[in-house]
Symmetry: C2
Subunit: 196 residues, 2 copies
């Protein structure tokens, strides 16, 4: 199959995307080449440009094309609050609530010993330095409520307390719009303990 | 979010892949930028190269980087048999059986009136010209056994008969290794009618 070299290479490259197996990669390659070559070229350029220009914000570690991202530069933000999230997608969810006006620190991952991700891989040192700038009064831990996310929040909270800072955690409780009958018991138990 | 322009563009470009929604596209973009930039650059180059160099074989219409694909040029192939398949993936499945030594014609699609795909879009004219070269004795219709695939096979069979050629169709029947109890009734009925 020497004459389908570029096609085989493309299928192999598409398998580098998370969640894409060999059948999906074939389907994607055939679709792009048969029906949508402009999309293939658009994606090629977008990948190259993103890989060349996107890096981490010096302050909050999120993705940006500048040295410091626009959120960190925004003068109207409350610099006394720092919200720690796992990914830019989580940061985006926080932003869409419209309920938070402070700054962020994006971990770009979570503690995951099974995958070999420890505190040093996540740059906790950088977070602690950032939180100890003298302006930050409260660090809000908004990592996910999964086993890894909880472990990450715990380790960060311990580190912050050791440095004399006051970490808070997003409230656990019953989701808005849900009926108790259908909410899992762990969530109800947490909501009962944290009642106000 | 002016500073995440390249990232937004990349997410939008990834959504051009079939079966990729906005959440998957975000996940892919974050994964590539955070964990695997070489994969992003490899994919970028593979897309560009495939879009630039892959086109259709003059004879069988499959994807190739040359004017005529290696299968069509292979001297050991039986030129009296022509197998009609929907996609290069189907051709690849036929090849892997090792049971077929003739040539192919790849439709690159199927009749699908609901999607506006008619006989002219699939190049039936080119197939009929190819089949009437005087060397081809038998045209094996190996389109899928779906509604569209069957309709495609029917229309091609009628066109071939009108030109005095003998089309055959892959046998319908009970899959190898299956127990009758678990085979759908339509398949058993077909296997009964086509018994030998």
């Amino acid at each position: 199959m020497s004459d389908t070299n570029a096609l085989d290479t493309l299928i192999q490259a598409l398998r580098g995307l998370p969640g894409v197996g060999v059948k999906s990669a074939q389907r994607m390659a055939f679709h792009l080449l048969q029906h949508d070559r402009p999309a293939a070229q658009f994606l090629s350029r977008a990948l190259q440009q993103a890989a060349d220009t996107v890096h981490h914000c010096e302050r909050c570690h999120t993705f940006t094309q500048d040295a410091v991202c626009s959120t960190c530069l925004d003068e109207r933000r409350d610099r006394s609050q720092l919200c720690v999230v796992e990914t830019p997608a989580d940061q985006s969810a926080m932003e869409r609530t419209g309920a938070y006006k402070g700054l962020y620190f994006v971990l770009m991952g979570k503690l995951s010993p099974l995958d070999g991700v420890g505190p040093n891989d996540l740059g906790f040192k950088k977070l602690f330095d950032r939180a100890c700038d003298g302006v930050v009064q409260e660090v809000i831990l908004a990592t996910n409520f999964t086993a890894e996310g909880e472990a990450t929040a715990y380790v960060i909270a311990e580190g912050l307390k050791a440095r004399g800072l006051r970490p808070t955690r997003l409230a656990r409780g019953v989701p808005v719009g849900s009926e108790l009958e259908y909410v899992d018991l762990g969530t109800i138990a947490h909501a009962l303990v944290d009642r106000r």
